[in-house]
Amino acid sequence: MVASAAERPGARSAPEVEPARASEHAFRLGLATIAVLVVRDLKRFFRQKSRVLGALVQPLIFWLAIGSGFNASFRFPGAGAEGSVSYMSYFFPGVIVMVVLFTAIFTTLSLIEDRHQGFLQAVMVAPGARWALVLGKTLGGVTIAMVQAGIFLALAPWAGFSLGHVQWVTLLFTLLFTAVGLSALGFTLAWWLDSVQGYHAVMSVLLIPAWVLSGAMFPIERGSAWLAVAAHLNPVAYSVAAVRRALYGGVGTAGLGTSAWLEFAVVLGFAFLTVALGVWISRFGRVARPRRAKTAGGGAR
């Protein structure tokens, strides 16, 4: 029927699939779209040497500088070897979550750039479903965040953690779902925002407060009441608490005073919620249009 397809033996004609096979085909297209987007983000990330280096060196400097600065002055009662925890050790889980937080969100915030360069539009006109676009972009951020968190975790012995003691499976899944949640949040924000200014606003209004109020730098229960309330409403705080707990072999140290199950449930729930939000906004939110059209409020042409 299609001349082009008939001419070439290797060619598949445009999918004129019967309904029964259509959903299977859509699923296959979805998986292919996800794979393509993940590979693309990995390629882009590892191709930019400065980005790779910065992503590793920055948290390291952060941990060493702030950690050793406070190390002399502060000690926390907890599950350390001598019944107390050094600040370097207390701060370590917070830095790991910071690595995940910033990497995951900034990888998916690149959607803003994708839209301005027109790349996003090419994905949207392709037959893959919107959920595949969301998951592809999200899992790209997750993969990069996990690689970086993994590299940083190699420093755990120097933070005073014994590798044999760590609950690795819990740690892995906590970090994984934290990364999913934050990447999907980045996707949703990027879909909704339209400019680099928005990007910096996200950074200062959302990310830094979320991290600072997560118990990453100081124990929540020692602060004032409003701090505790803010932390209990902050999904990142549950990630920090869960990561810290897993690193200490299942003992909650200076956390939110919550149980391991609640912490994991919040992390998981946050991941599902943000992915759902991402799918929703990409299907029903204002449609991303190429850069020329948006300059006049979408009404110029």
């Binding site: 001349a3 001419e7 779209t33 027109g118 996003l120 090419a122 006109v125 893959g128 850069r291 042409r301």
Partner: protein, 332 residues
Amino acid sequence: MLAATSTPMTPMSQAPGGPLLVVEGLRRSYGDRVALDGLSFSVGRGEIFGLLGPNGAGKTTTFHILAGLLAPEAGRILLAGRETGPEDPAYRARLGVVFQHPSLDLKLTGRENLQLGAGLYALPRRVARERIEELLRLVDLTERADELVEQYSGGMRRRLELARVLLHEPQILVLDEPSRGLDQPSLRRFWEQILELRARRGLTVLLTTHQPEEAEYCDRLGVLDGGRLVACDTPAALRKRVGNERILIEGDRPEELVEVISTRFDLHAPAVQVVDGRVVVEAPRAHELVPRLVEAFPGGRLRSVSLRAPTLADVFVRLTGHGLPEGDEGAV
């Protein structure tokens, strides 16, 4: 069908099987402003159909609706006789969409961009590999396939984009202002490739344009103004509606020339007027007027006198009462 496509410049909306794409009653507004006011047209198999109009006429809105980036308020789309739309993956798989600005990843190489494109359409790996090499040859980028796209020129990017859009062998190409951002040689080359693809594969092409020169490549043109079609015909037939040839006269002090011509030849505005510093005379049997004009102004008073057939830009002015924008003001 293939035989029909090998005779270019013939409208094929009456080809067997009916039109490939039918758009009916498309409506869309932005706030109070109506961008599309019940737009309908159809594109035959193997046909090159152009939507001609200035910015704001509704071209890009139409393009965005067909590409699925914008939802219409009313109207429907039929592909090969079946009602469908961008929400249907099968529809998207049959479409090849070329944006004004190439939608490539600049941080990847040309070949990687094509691999990515193949992945988005879930092409089997072996098929993808063959087609990528074949298309790289077609668009003449084999040698530079492993360079980052950010090092490509505008013309190269456009060619790579074309290759990427052809990977999944779409039935119909939808192009938004293909001339934008391309210099004349690149544009000519781009169109040679489109025409060749049409001849070889029976590709159907729908494009938007505001350039009369580009509109000449179309088999049929829909002239768009204020969100509706004011005419729809072949370029030749449209030109016939304007009829008269035009004489272009270049010389110093054109206003003075207009006065002299008006009195001597009994021609009055708008039949004789100054347009862009040149005197334009529009008259029936204008060619007979040329020698008399030359004789009327001896002694090098005129720098040049030329005769031209009416262009699609003239057609547009006649149909809508206003002009197409000159030049390519939106070029990158």
